[in-house]
Subunit: 159 residues, 2 copies
């Protein structure tokens, strides 16, 4: 376990750049490590550790699930990766630093909206003044019903 990331966010544009950040931190660049990065760049959207280990349905070579988890943790400490929790189900991993984005999820259709933190500032203000709590939706997203799913009465997983 490496020291947690502090300082300016790392905005890697490609695998090589991310690999550079690894080197700069004195971390080794192994095949397994590079694969996790390749998968995340390749996915372009949040994915589970399991899907990364599975090779994204053939788009990248498959790797060991335990190593994927270990490497995701390492990359997260480095500030290259963030993850959040989509209700029940596995954690979702994406490129970027913790707090880069906040998420809003529909409990019925599972659609995920990624928002800039600034977009939520007045929601945060409202909640903070009323409940003395400054909410963050980056690790545990806001859950609700989107317009479409609200439409009919039929909708969705009530959990």
């Amino acid at each position: 376990v490496t020291a947690p990331h502090t300082g300016p966010p790392i905005e890697a544009q490609d695998v090589d750049e991310a690999v550079g950040a690894l080197r700069a931190r004195g971390l080794r660049v192994s095949a397994a490590r590079r694969l996790v990065l390749e998968a995340l760049f390749n996915a372009g959207e949040p994915v589970s550790a399991d899907r990364i280990a599975g090779g994204l349905e053939g788009r990248v070579p498959r790797s060991d699930l335990a190593s994927v988890y270990r490497n995701l943790e390492t990359l997260e400490e480095l500030g290259l990766v963030r993850h959040f929790h989509l209700g029940h189900g596995p954690g979702m991993y994406a490129l970027g630093a913790e707090g880069d984005r906040e998420y809003l999820v529909c409990q019925s259709c599972r659609h995920v909206h990624a928002a800039e933190p600034a977009e939520l500032d007045d929601v945060r203000d409202l909640v903070r003044t009323r409940f003395a709590l400054a909410p963050r939706f980056s690790h545990f997203p806001m859950v609700g019903l989107c317009r479409e799913c609200r439409g009919g009465l039929g909708g969705g997983d009530p959990r």
Copy 2:
């Protein structure tokens, strides 16, 4: 698995009243079932299935964990019990119907604030108009930092 609860919420004041609701639904009143209710009334706050099965540190007799889960599910379908998820960690169960309360949790000190849904209506309105999502904090609470924990820089689990 019984039919899901519809209609007016059941507001049981004690175990006997809750037991009555079971009978009214044609469900059997077993010792294990009564124990779960006894534990929930006794706890007075949200508790995990594990703690119920453990007998709340001796306050009620202990029972089988699998049965506790099954009975909590039954009682939830009946509308007597609700549960929500506190970040990582086990689900928390309490008396009342789903949606009765919404929760706000501090990610650092884990303090839980239970709010009346109406208190959150304008937060909901704000989010709904901006993001086309009507949020619900009854099953997946709002997570953030409370005033005390926000104070220092030291604070808490960044997950």
